[in-house]
Each structure stands twice: as C-alpha cells, then as structure tokens.
C-alpha cells in the first residue's frame, strides 16, 4: 500500500471487497480506499521518494471507482488514453451518476487484471475495436450509481432519517432541513454498507453532463509540454537504449564487433539479443551513434525469408484463391443465380500492407530486479504486456508490475508486445532501468502491418441492374489466427477478415462469402485502426458503386433502393449526407462526388467526397462530409474530433500509403518515403452527428473505415475510370 494511506486496509478486508466485486460481475466500488497516489503516476512519486520501491501486487485495488476522504473521486480507467478522449468520457459517466462536477474526478490507469477489466466485446483487457464506450457505458454508470446510493444511505443513517428524504448534489448528500454532508465525510460509513444490486440509472432526459461538450481532462498538460508519455519518463538511474533488429523477420544475430560502439562517447553498454543488437547510452544520441557504428560489423543470419520480394507475396495471395478456404456465409444459391443472370459484373480489389507509424515510436521503460520486473509503458493490452515481460524476464507474472501510460498514438500498434519483450530482455542484462526508444526507421521497418487483402466479387444482376446476389472471396492474412488463435474455429474463419462482408448491409437473397487465410512470408500482420470494417467497407462500397454505375443509376438512389426497408438508420445518414453534399447538384467536368454508407463498430456512417482533378493528375479534395449516427453521445466534442481525425487518418493511407518488401526487408523507413497527410493536403472535414437515443456505437475507428470507398468512388465519378487498388498514388495521382 501507499505509505501516505491514512487508513491501512487489512488483507481480509481486501479479499472481501474483491469478492464483492466479482459477485457484482466485475464491479467493485471500493469506497474504502483513502486518497492515494495512483500507481500509474508513480513516476513523479519515484522522483519524490526514490526509496519507495516496494512491490505492490497487481491485485484489484478498487475496480472502477474510489471516493476519497476529501470527497475526491478517482476513476480507475480500464481503457488507456491515446487521443480518443475515452477517459474524459468515462469521467463524465461517473460524474453524471455520482452527482459530482467533472472537475472532482481524476483518472488513474487500471492495472492488468483480466478478472476485473476484460472488455465485454473484445473478451480481453484491451483498448481497441472502438469498444470502450460501448462496453463500459452501463457498468461504469452502474458503479457510480451504486456508490451514490451508498453515500446517501450512509448520510441518512447518520442523520437518522430515511434515505428517500435525501438526495445527492454537487458532491454532497442533502437531507431534510437542508442538512449537508460531503461525500468525504460519509465515505467511511458508506464503505460498511452492502453494495446495492439492480441500481436504476438516470434517464437520458435527466443528464446534466453526458451529451454536453466537455473539455478533455488531459489536454491542458498537452499544450504546455508537461504531459508525460512513455518516451518522456525518467526513473532514477535510468539509461537510454535503442535497438536494431534483424531486418528480416525470423532472422538472428550471428556476430557484432562491439568495440566500435563502445568507442562512441556516451555509450555505456552493447547488448546482444537473439534477433537484435541494442546500445545503451547516457542519452539517445549515444545510442543512435552507437548503433550506426555497429552497422558495418553486424552479421545476421537472415533465415528463411531473406529472399522474399513483394511480387512473390502478392503471387502467393493470388494463388490462394485456388484453395477452398472457409465459408463465412452462404445464402440461397449463388451459382445458380450467376448462371441464370441477365448480366454479371466481376471486380477485384486490392489493399496494401500499412504501417501504424504513430508519432511516438515504440518505447518502454523496464527494470528487472531480483524481486520484480517493473515496466512503465503505454500499452493497449496490459495483460499481454505483463505476460510478455514475465516471459522475457523469467519472473512469474505476479512479480511483473505494469504502469500504463498515456500514448502518443497507437492505432492498434500498441496491442502488440514485441517492443515490451525487447525492453525487458535488455533490462534483464543490466542492473539499472533502461528506456528503450526505437528510431523512426526501426519503428517503420519492424511494425506488424495491416494485412494486404485481395477481394474478388461476382454479382448476378436482374434486368434493372439490381443484384440478385453476389459472391465474394477474401484473401489475406488472418490477424486473429496470430493474435488469438483460440478465437479462430478449425476451418480458419477469421471473423475480423469478413466483417461487413459476411453479413452485408444490403439484403441479398443469394450470397456466398468465402475467406482464404494466407499469411505472407517475411511480414507480420496486426490490428490497424479500422480493423475488419476498414477492409469490408472499402470492398463492399466500391463494388456496390460499380453496380450502380453499371445500372446507370444514381449511386445514392441505388443504395437506397437496395436497402429497401432495411436499416432505417443507414438510410437516414445516407440521405443527410447527400443533402449536406448537395448531391443532386451537377458538377462541371473534372469533378466528381463519391459516397459510402455502412454500419461500422455499431455506428452508422455515410461519407461523401467531392474532388477535382486537373490535367496533370493533381487531385484536390473540395469537400469531405461525414454523417454519423453513433447512438447516445457522451462527449460531443470527442465524437466530432474522432470523426474528423479518423476520416483524415484513413485518407492519408488511401492516398499515399503502401508498405512493400524487397529481399525480405520492408522498403520504407521514415516519413520521407512513407508519406503522411499534412495540413496542406487536408481538406476540412464537415461532421454531422444525428441525434439518437440508441445505445452508444464505436467512434474511434468509424470515420477511418469509410473514407477510402468514398474517395475512390469520387475518383470514378470524376474520371470515368475505376481505380481498384489502394493507395491512389499507385494510379499516378497526387494531391494538390
């Protein structure tokens, strides 16, 4: 326990509270805890109290909520902040039900504990899949409402009045005769009460905080440079490490002449790992110079993949179409429909490998001591992080302490633990803490990339050009099979790879969707912002657009007709997007509009791009409209920001990005050859959010998933040509 604790908690009491938490289905309202310094802010504490290194087992110390003796509320956030505003949204939910101002809530990071913090959608403790608000919307408010009821009851008991005559307001319980007690004054008594079950939640019309724009809690420190990301941390005695891994996946280190690095001023140590060499220095410059000095003498065994080129990878993907794969959905009789169809349309789409490339490169502070392995690291998956560190350090998981940190961009990259394993392995070889910081080049070339997908469609059309049905075959690496093999059935069907495809938005009486997993050699694949829907929305919305043009129908009208009476929320966003985009207004030559509509992450989105093309293949995006129905909105500001940023994030990839392999090595290395959208390329994003009382949908990745089809459909509208392979730059276009 923290030494500042004024009321130590006995082990028995801890156990009992933990038990009650589990009985409540993962909810634990630990009103017993005095205000304490959250461990995730331990870095400041370590600086103040350098001797304070006692091991704190990562057991549940109050699952979601703590009410301090000063009345201050601490939210233990099961989700990490990486720019999506999730922690502010959570704080708003808590403040709403607890009847406290938002300013009275602060946030601490949850420790790894799958029992308490597993996500009900993702089935593990992680931040991703645009699941955070969806899965915590009820549990968090229930926790806060239960705490409020207990605080009111405690005050009522003290006053010897009925709880029904008391209410909570502004962090106080107010009783008959305007008697008042602050939460801090009754928290000790409240902690003795039984946690109520089946607590009623506020009705949306009574919300005071939810649904109103709120300033993010974490932003002030992010505009004055005081916010600490992992890369900014300093623990006493720490040195800086940087590493270079074998450029080919699966390769190993054979030999290296360490003396050259040791001659560099500031270099402290050279560390050899199985597949990498690391240099530890007094500062990053020494580590970088040390690695450069090793470059010539380092000898790798490139293993089996040293000769692999992009063309071979793509050929293997094409060859995979010959395999049966797994059937994701089979409705009606698509073979018969295709045989007897008035006409048929076929198309093939292709999407490249993509790097995540967050601006904060992979970084992790690690210390391996006799008694513990302690890590300070921004991670989307703390339980996996702990497992990785346990394995690399040789310590049992209970002795691994993870302090999760704010993240300088993740986009899925920090669901992986390769850099945590590496940091721990380096730290194990020295008797001081190290901060591993990857160079941008290391980050770009040693990512786990979005799969390269190839999709083939064939549609059977009736006399009006409407589909009687279609078949779709998807080929690409199964991320799920590598990341969570247990989640994949024996036939290899990856639910992520077939999202938005297996059950398309449009009702079809004949449909067959087939998935053939093909893991490329020399490249590892992982989750990338937008995940399954990013792929599914692109191919389905591109193909439907082709059908609309083939039928000589307006792409919006065609989609509405195809939807029939299905998905009223999809129809509403599509109609509104068309209206906002002046869809019906004709455009001069060289201009075009493209549209896409889908349900992604439980939200309905419609995106419209209007662009202009000049004689030199210069593309200027004139308008970009994004309409969303994402159910009840907690913080409108965050929803708008995520739709704006997420859409442009997807645009950046759709315009420019493609990772390619030569001799088993990733060819791109830094932002000079892996270009990203800049302000001068970025059109304003017009966001419209439809008011809704439906359950909240995901929003962090929704905009990202929708932009590529709208962009490529607009390219077709402007040029009359279909560009089916991303990115657009491949077709010789550039942004002006």
């Amino acid at each position: 326990m923290n030494k500042n604790s004024s009321a130590p908690v006995s082990p028995e009491r801890r156990r009992m509270l933990k038990a009650s938490g589990v009985a409540l289905g993962g909810l634990l309202i630990a009103t017993w805890l005095p205000p304490m310094v959250p461990k995730s802010f331990a870095i400041q504490r370590l600086e103040e109290e350098p001797e304070d290194h006692e091991l704190q087992p990562p057991t549940a110390l109050g699952a979601f909520l703590r009410v301090g003796h000063n009345g201050h509320i601490t939210l233990i956030s099961p989700k990490i902040e990486m720019g999506q505003g999730v922690q502010t949204g959570f704080a708003m939910m808590i403040a709403e039900e607890l009847e406290v101002p938002l300013s009275q809530v602060s946030v601490a990071e949850a420790p790894p504990n799958p029992e308490l913090y597993s996500d009900s959608i993702l089935n593990f403790q992680a931040t991703g899949g645009s699941a955070s608000t969806r899965s915590n919307w009820e549990p968090l408010r229930e926790a806060a409402a239960a705490a409020r009821i207990m605080l009111i009851q405690a005050a009522a008991n003290q006053w010897q009045v009925s709880a029904a005559d008391c209410r909570a307001e502004n962090g106080q319980v107010i009783g008959p005769g305007d008697r008042r007690l602050g939460y801090g004054e009754v928290v000790a008594a409240a902690a003795e009460l039984t946690v109520p079950e089946n607590v009623p939640l506020k009705k949306p019309e009574d919300f005071k905080i939810i649904g109103k724009p709120a300033q993010r809690l974490d932003t002030p420190s992010k505009v004055d440079g005081s916010a600490k990301f992992t890369i900014d941390l300093h623990v006493p005695g720490m040195k800086i490490a940087s590493a270079r891994a074998c450029p080919v996946v699966g390769g190993t280190l054979v030999a290296v002449d360490e003396s050259r690095a040791r001659a560099v001023p500031g270099v402290v140590e050279v560390i050899k790992l199985d597949n990498a060499v690391a240099v530890i220095g007094d500062h990053m410059w020494a580590a970088i110079k040390g690695l450069e000095a090793l470059e010539e003498s380092v000898e790798w065994d490139f293993g089996a993949h040293g000769g692999i080129d992009q063309a071979q990878i793509e050929q293997a993907l094409r060859d995979a179409f010959e395999r049966d794969g797994a059937i994701a959905n089979d409705v009606g009789d698509i073979d018969k429909a295709l045989d007897g169809a008035e006409s048929k349309i076929e198309a093939e789409y292709e999407m490249p490998f993509l790097a995540h490339s967050p601006l904060e490169p992979m970084t992790c502070v690690a210390q391996v001591r006799a008694d513990a392995c302690e890590l300070w690291v921004g991670t989307q998956a703390p339980v996996f992080a702990r497992q990785a560190a346990a394995k690399a350090s040789g310590m049992p998981a209970e002795k691994v302490i993870i302090h999760n940190q704010w993240i300088g961009g993740a986009f899925g990259r920090r669901l992986e633990t390769d850099f945590i394993t590496q940091a721990t392995a380096i730290a194990k070889q020295v008797d001081y803490p190290i901060k591993l910081v990857w160079t941008r080049e290391e980050d770009t070339t040693h990512d786990l990339y979005r799969p390269h997908y190839i999709d083939r469609f064939a549609a059977a059309l009736d006399a009006d050009g409407m589909p009687i049905g279609w078949s779709q075959t998807i080929v690409g690496a199964s991320v799920l099979a590598r990341f969570a093999p247990d989640a994949v059935p024996p036939n290899g069907l990856d639910s992520d790879a077939v999202e938005n495809s297996a059950n398309p938005l449009y009702p079809l009486s004949n449909l067959r969707v087939r998935y053939v997993p093909e893991a490329p050699k020399a490249i590892l694949n992982s989750w990338w912002r937008g995940v399954g829907p990013l792929h599914g929305a692109y191919v389905v919305e591109s193909f439907v657009d082709e059908l609309a043009y083939a039928a000589k129908q307006d792409p919006v009208d065609y989609r509405l007709k195809l939807l029939g009476d299905q998905h009223p929320r999809a129809q509403a966003v599509l109609r509104l997007a068309a209206e906002k985009a002046n869809w019906r207004q004709p455009l001069p030559d060289g201009r075009g509009r493209g549209v896409a509509v889908q349900e992604v992450f439980g939200s309905y989105l419609a995106t419209v791009v209007e662009l202009q093309i000049d004689a030199n293949n210069g593309v200027r995006i004139k308008r970009l409209i994004c309409v969303a129905d994402c159910g009840i909105v907690t913080n409108p500001t965050s929803v708008h920001s995520q739709l704006e940023g997420g859409t442009l994030f997807g645009l950046s990839a759709a315009l420019y990005n493609e990772i390619t392999v030569k001799n088993g090595r990733v060819e791109q290395s830094n932002y000079n050859d892996y270009r990203q959208l800049r302000i001068s390329d970025a059109p304003p994003v017009e966001v419209f959010v439809v008011p809704s009382t439906e359950a909240p949908g995901g929003i962090g990745e929704a905009g990202t998933a929708m932009i590529a089809p709208a962009l490529m459909n607009a390219m077709h509208a402007a040029t009359g040509k279909r560009f089916r392979r991303l990115p657009l730059a491949r077709a010789g276009f550039h942004v002006i």
Binding site: T219, D224, S226, H234, F649, N670, I679, A682
Partner: protein
C-alpha cells in the same frame, strides 16, 4: 563545454558538438516537452524557436544552438502570443493524443509572430512541416485563425 541560452536561462552542457539540440533538451536537461518523431526534419514534433524562428531541433547540432536564444514549449506560455495560442488550442479542443502538439504550437506561434493576419495559404506553408498522425488539422487551422482574428 557549451553555453546554451534556453528560455532565458544560461546553461552549461558537456556534450558532443554534433549532438542534436533535441537530445540535449530531452536527455541531458530533462526538458521533455520537445518530442522525437523522425530525426530527419520531416515531422516537426521537435520544433523549438531559435531567435524567434521555428527550427527542427532533431537536426540542429547543439554547437549551432550555442550563442542563440532558444525557446521551448515549456516557456512559450510566458509570452502573450504563446499563451493565446495555447488557450486557442484548448478552446478549439485541438488535441487528440497530444504527442505532436508541442511542435504544432511552437510552429503556430512562430508563424503568427511573422504573419499576424494569417490566411489559409500562410497556414499551409507555415504548418506543412508539422505532421499530426491523429490528423487534428481541421482544428489546428481553426485555432490559428481564431488567434489571427483576435
């Protein structure tokens, strides 16, 4: 030994002459508001001011910084314009992950210092060197314009 003038304070550092100012700030002086993103003057997260001009500290040898007036994100709020820009960033809720925003703010202040009535073209030119992977560009533009108008 080099003498650096950072945020109006003279500091002595004993580091290699070719060490970029970025690493001196971050790893020697513990001023971590200035970030690392690419090391090759492509992303702008390392932007500081040298005599009022925005420079990429990742490619600025510390020996060239010596003798010049360096200002970092930690002190930009002490100037009236710097404060206004930070305020505008909060009012427009620009920040997402926040990692690039030190550099964005330093670039924006330098731009507004030179062109107080910026238009879109000035923003494109002055801010194109500062990437934001969270793509907060719509709000960056709005925040800069609000300061220009004020």
């Amino acid at each position: 030994m080099l003498t650096l003038t950072i945020n109006d304070v003279d500091l002595e550092v004993d580091v290699p002459d070719d060490m970029p100012l970025l690493w001196v700030l971050r790893d020697v002086l513990g001023m971590t508001g200035t970030k690392y993103g690419c090391g090759i003057a492509q992303c702008g997260v390392c932007t500081v001011h040298m005599n009022g001009n925005a420079v990429r500290s990742c490619v600025l040898p510390v020996s060239e910084a010596a003798g010049n007036k360096i200002t970092t994100i930690e002190a930009i709020g002490k100037t009236a314009l710097g404060k206004r820009v930070q305020q505008a960033w909060l009012e427009h809720e620009v920040v997402q992950c926040g990692y690039c925003q030190s550099g964005q703010i330093m670039a924006a202040v330098a731009l507004l210092e030179k062109v107080p009535d910026v238009d879109d073209a000035d923003i494109d030119l002055g801010m194109a060197g500062n990437m934001c992977r969270c793509c907060t560009y719509t709000r960056i533009r709005g925040a800069i314009k609000s300061v220009a108008k004020a």
